[in-house]
Symmetry: C2
Subunit: 203 residues, 2 copies
């Protein structure tokens, strides 16, 4: 299983945003939605072995977290507006506390932030996507339960950095250019695809 945790420092934890102006009204939830697509969708299908968490730290309803589970998501669409509409519907419901409660089509909601996600992850090996880390191509990523933590357009906040440091998360980069979070996820996913397939070309 592969898991990605995307932390949105100001991403709306409530349904109070406009589908007509996601960047301006949702605390850049659009950045996180693009990460959902990059992590979960491939040509004509969903990555069944992948789970994405979105940590929503923006607005009065924060912190809340969403989980999107590729193994049960069937109708996930790639365009931002469709994803935003689904997320908006889920956020309009009440959570059931810090444990994730399934809402629809692979989406689950928790009333809690990074702590709720960490509790849900169970056993895992943490990695942080960080342009200052060593190149992922040279890093031995655990086959079993790697979890990749990613910041939004503003990076990772101090609280998240401290929590990840306590977990002894390993920092890895994806190359010499600082990429959008969704592109970084695409590159990491490709690297893991290659390793699983036993392809040459990585350290």
């Amino acid at each position: 299983m592969r898991r990605f945790v995307v932390i949105g420092q100001k991403a709306s934890a409530s349904a109070e945003f406009s589908l007509d102006d996601l960047p301006g009204s949702s605390g850049r939830l659009d950045v996180l939605l693009r990460c959902v697509r990059a992590a979960l969708l491939v040509s004509h299908g969903v990555r069944k072995d992948t789970v994405v968490y979105l940590v929503l730290l923006g607005g009065a309803a924060a912190p809340r977290a969403l989980r999107v589970d590729g193994s049960i998501a069937e109708y996930l669409r790639p365009d931002e507006r469709s994803l935003a509409r689904t997320v908006q519907k889920v956020l309009a419901t009440a959570g059931e506390g810090p444990s994730f409660a399934v809402r629809s089509d692979g989406f689950a909601l928790a009333e809690g932030g990074l702590d709720a996600v960490l509790a849900d992850l169970g056993t895992f090996t943490p990695y942080v996507l960080d342009e200052a880390g060593p190149d992922v191509r040279g890093v031995q990523v655990e086959e079993g339960d790697p979890v990749f933590f990613v910041g939004d357009h503003a990076g990772l906040d101090e609280t998240a950095r401290a929590a990840l440091a306590r977990l002894h998360a390993r920092h890895v980069s994806v190359g010499p250019v600082s990429l959008h979070a969704d592109d970084a996820i695409a590159v990491v996913s490709n690297e893991l695809d290659r390793r699983r397939a036993g392809r040459p070309g990585y350290a």
Copy 2:
């Protein structure tokens, strides 16, 4: 310079589509817009050395083509709706024939399809992103003027395949899993970034 040509078999060549339903009303222009973002935008900036062409083969106004030039695009935004709004405005204007005419912020329009793009490309070395091709990590990509041709969600049509065969375009793949076009572009861009930076980890 890096250039990408994305061919949209049914992507709207006119402004007659709804921003509220891009996938359903634009012939999947959303797929092409995501390619524009992946090719041109990085963290807090535009790739100045990159140009993207969109070949629009859908609707009565087809064929038309758009060119987005990173060296002069200043206000490019990453979200699909903003990109779609910009494209819609450009498509609402009349082109000036098969040569590209600059419209706004790096966008230019031509009244022609793949032929108009090929004429504009000048000297180049053609590559086709194709899951059946050899792995790009093992391919010597020309430093000078590589141009990568990419299909949309439906792949490349026979006409495009024939034209690219006449150019002796080399087919390259990006790994063992068939990816969305924008993710394939992200992976290729990352590979080229690494080569330019002289990083290890590629053949």
